[in-house]
């Protein structure tokens, strides 16, 4: 598998190079994710059946380090179920899910998967509405999330800087002390993305990040995702074809249909595929 130059650089930074700062291929933190083969996520032969109905049917997919992958597909294609499987909400009936080479996601619960470095944005924005914007980001911040360390947690100035950087990135600095429940729909979506970034995940899963956004907000979200490209691996599930075209660029697009991969390739390639046109674009 070939990688973008940016992705390759990132693959190195994700592994620890030791104090000398050498590139760390093959010398991975024992507890961290091993991405030495260039892929951050492998789904192999995933099947999920609900009372005989196969929401996912032998789905196989892998995502490269630093890649921004768009996943499209008609309603009921299994996009959200796939995210549920990756994040531990749903256990697959069959198949394997690996994060890097070494972390078997089917053995972990939601919190452990999040801790391992996978962040998820839901279709409907879910932020903590009774907490301020600041507190939402503070809660999400990567750190020991055990009971005792949470009770005695104090923000270091470094951590405060990280929060203020993220606020600037998601353009919510003026809203810092506002209750998240009072934000507009688009702002909530950004806050949720900001929360994901505070987790410093290696892989971000975004379920319809522009659903319900105005055109201006959609465009801004596209810019935001493009800024993240290369720093994180991203998987974006989306309905909005214009938006997919905006962010996919030369990257790969995967089309799901009835729980399996129907086609994979660049946006232009996929759009030209007659089967894709039939099941999805043609409707």
């Amino acid at each position: 598998m070939t990688l973008h130059p940016a992705a390759e650089r990132d693959a190195q930074s994700l592994t620890e190079g030791g104090p000398s700062g050498e590139a760390g291929y093959g010398r991975v933190r024992p507890a961290g994710v091993d991405t030495s083969h260039g892929a951050i996520l492998y789904l192999e032969d995933i099947t999920v059946s609900f009372d005989g109905f196969k929401a996912l049917n032998n789905l196989s997919l892998d995502i490269g380090v630093g890649e921004l992958r768009c996943v499209i597909g008609p309603n009921g294609a299994g996009k959200t179920t796939m995210m549920d499987v990756i994040t531990g909400k749903t256990r697959p009936t069959g198949g394997t899910v690996f994060f890097g080479q070494n972390i078997d996601l089917t053995t972990l619960n939601e919190a452990q998967i999040a801790d391992a470095g996978i962040g998820r944005k839901f279709q409907r924005p879910t932020v903590f509405e009774n907490h301020t914007v600041f507190e939402n980001l503070e809660l999400a911040m990567k750190m020991n999330k055990g009971v005792r360390s949470t009770l005695f947690a104090r923000l270091s100035s470094e951590q405060q800087d990280r929060i203020s950087d993220t606020l600037a990135l998601i353009r919510l600095t003026p809203e810092i002390w506002r209750l998240a429940g009072l934000l507009s729909h688009g702002q909530k979506q950004w806050l949720e993305i900001g929360m994901l970034l505070m987790q410093e995940p290696q892989l971000l899963l975004l379920d319809e990040p522009v659903a319900g956004m105005t055109d201006a907000e959609t465009e801004r979200t596209g810019e935001l995702l493009n800024e993240l490209r290369g720093k994180h691996s991203l998987m974006v599930v989306e309905h909005d074809m214009d938006f997919v075209t905006q962010i996919a660029g030369p990257g790969k697009v995967t089309v799901l249909h009835e729980g399996s991969v129907l086609a994979e390739g660049t946006m232009a390639h996929v759009q030209a595929d007659p089967r894709v046109i039939e099941v999805y674009l043609g409707r």
Partner: protein, 381 residues
């Protein structure tokens, strides 16, 4: 563009953080200390002034207030789990009673031979033909060990029950119903004569505590002051916890537990922590209640008692800490008055309070006060 935005990040972020993290505002501290000082002085009016003096306060009133403070402590404990973590318990009466029973047994055993049957064994054991103490009452003649049980038994039960319930992700009304069923089962167990808890009479006729005459005005005042101090300490502790990051995680559990999981927190530990702490505080409340009221019986585990606690919290203001304390005082004050005037209608009145609070005061008394203050401020502006 992003770079420009990053550079424009406000330098004022850090000072703003500093001012937000104090325990109480200066006004709140002042109000709190005045209230504590006022409550602390009341028993003096009982001890110092003669009964015919206009400033005299009856022993009955002191005991009543002491009882209310125990209720307030239980309400505070319930608010920690319900108001903050969103776990509605309809079984806090159980933890209250367990603390009460553990302390009550010490009080029974310190009666010595002054009981009705003038035996070394407590009256109920003679009456029910028990010859020796069952294993779970071993060592309860020691005050310190009895207090260990006061903390340990409700805590252990809550921990075990909570662990299995939270691990199975039992939530909402299902959890509430199970807590109520558990409490009811415990009540039936305690009602039985053969389980060693004194049957339906429970423990009563206490004579002394740590050698002090339990009916003496000075002992009563002492118990009152201890209760006040414990209540104040529990309020500070609860405030420290709810103001910490852990407190914010708890409210996140309440508002969106699944989101919390997906950002890497396992809610189990957090729920278990606050649930167990709440049970322990409630046990302490029960233990302080028993010597002041002079009796503990299985009636404390009745469904109504646990539900009444919920009403205290709701009336005062869920999720506000000071609210449940006010609510426990207000509802019980009303109850005292009502049961002396129209005793048969009290339950209707209680139901009415709950309906009215739910409909018109979702934030309870504290919410109402806040609303009035905000309204005033707006008018001034």
């Amino acid at each position: 563009m992003n770079q420009a935005a990053t550079l424009a990040a406000p330098p004022s972020l850090h000072p703003a953080l500093m001012t937000r993290r104090s325990l109480f505002s200066p006004q709140a501290w002042l109000g709190l200390l005045v209230a504590v000082a006022f409550l602390a002085v009341l028993p003096m009016a009982n001890l110092v002034f003669a009964p015919d003096h206009p400033l005299h306060i009856s022993s009955y009133a002191v005991a009543l207030l002491g009882k209310f403070m125990c209720y307030a402590l239980a309400a505070l404990a319930l608010d920690l789990v319900w108001g903050y973590a969103g776990i509605l318990s309809l079984g806090h009466g159980l933890f209250f009673a367990l603390g009460g029973y553990a302390h009550g047994m010490y009080l029974m055993r310190s009666i010595g031979r002054d009981g009705v049957y003038q035996s070394d064994l407590p009256d109920f054991m003679v009456f029910l033909n028990w010859k020796t103490y069952p294993w779970y009452w071993w060592g309860t003649e020691h005050f310190a060990y009895a207090w260990f049980l006061v903390l340990f038994v409700p805590g252990l039960l809550a921990f075990l029950f909570g662990y299995f319930a939270f691990r199975s992700r039992i939530k909402g009304v299902y959890f509430s119903i199970i807590t109520q069923a558990l409490t009811y089962a415990a009540m039936l167990l305690f009602f039985r004569n053969d389980t060693g808890f004194g049957g339906n009479n429970g423990f009563t006729d206490f004579k002394r505590i740590l050698g002090f005459d339990i009916t003496a005005a000075s002992t009563r005042a002492g118990l009152y002051w201890i209760t006040l101090a414990v209540l104040f300490g529990a309020l500070i502790l609860a405030r420290v916890i709810t103001q910490s990051k852990l407190g914010r995680v708890l409210t996140a559990v309440r508002d969106s537990e699944s989101r919390l999981r997906f950002i890497g927190y396992d809610p189990l530990g957090f729920k278990l922590f606050v649930w167990t702490l709440s049970a322990v505080l409630c046990g302490i409340a029960g233990a302080l209640y028993v010597p002041q009221v002079g009796i503990i019986n299985p009636g404390e585990m009745s469904t109504e008692n646990s539900i009444e606690m919920v009403i205290w919290v709701a009336t005062g203001g869920r999720g506000t800490l000071i609210g449940p304390i006010i609510g426990a005082g207000a509802v019980n004050g009303l109850k005292t008055w009502f049961t002396s005037v129209l005793p048969e209608y009290w339950l209707y009145c209680l139901g009415l309070i709950f309906v009215l609070v739910t409909l018109f005061l979702p934030q309870g008394i504290v919410g109402l006060v806040r609303r009035i203050m905000r309204h005033r401020e707006e008018r001034r502006v």
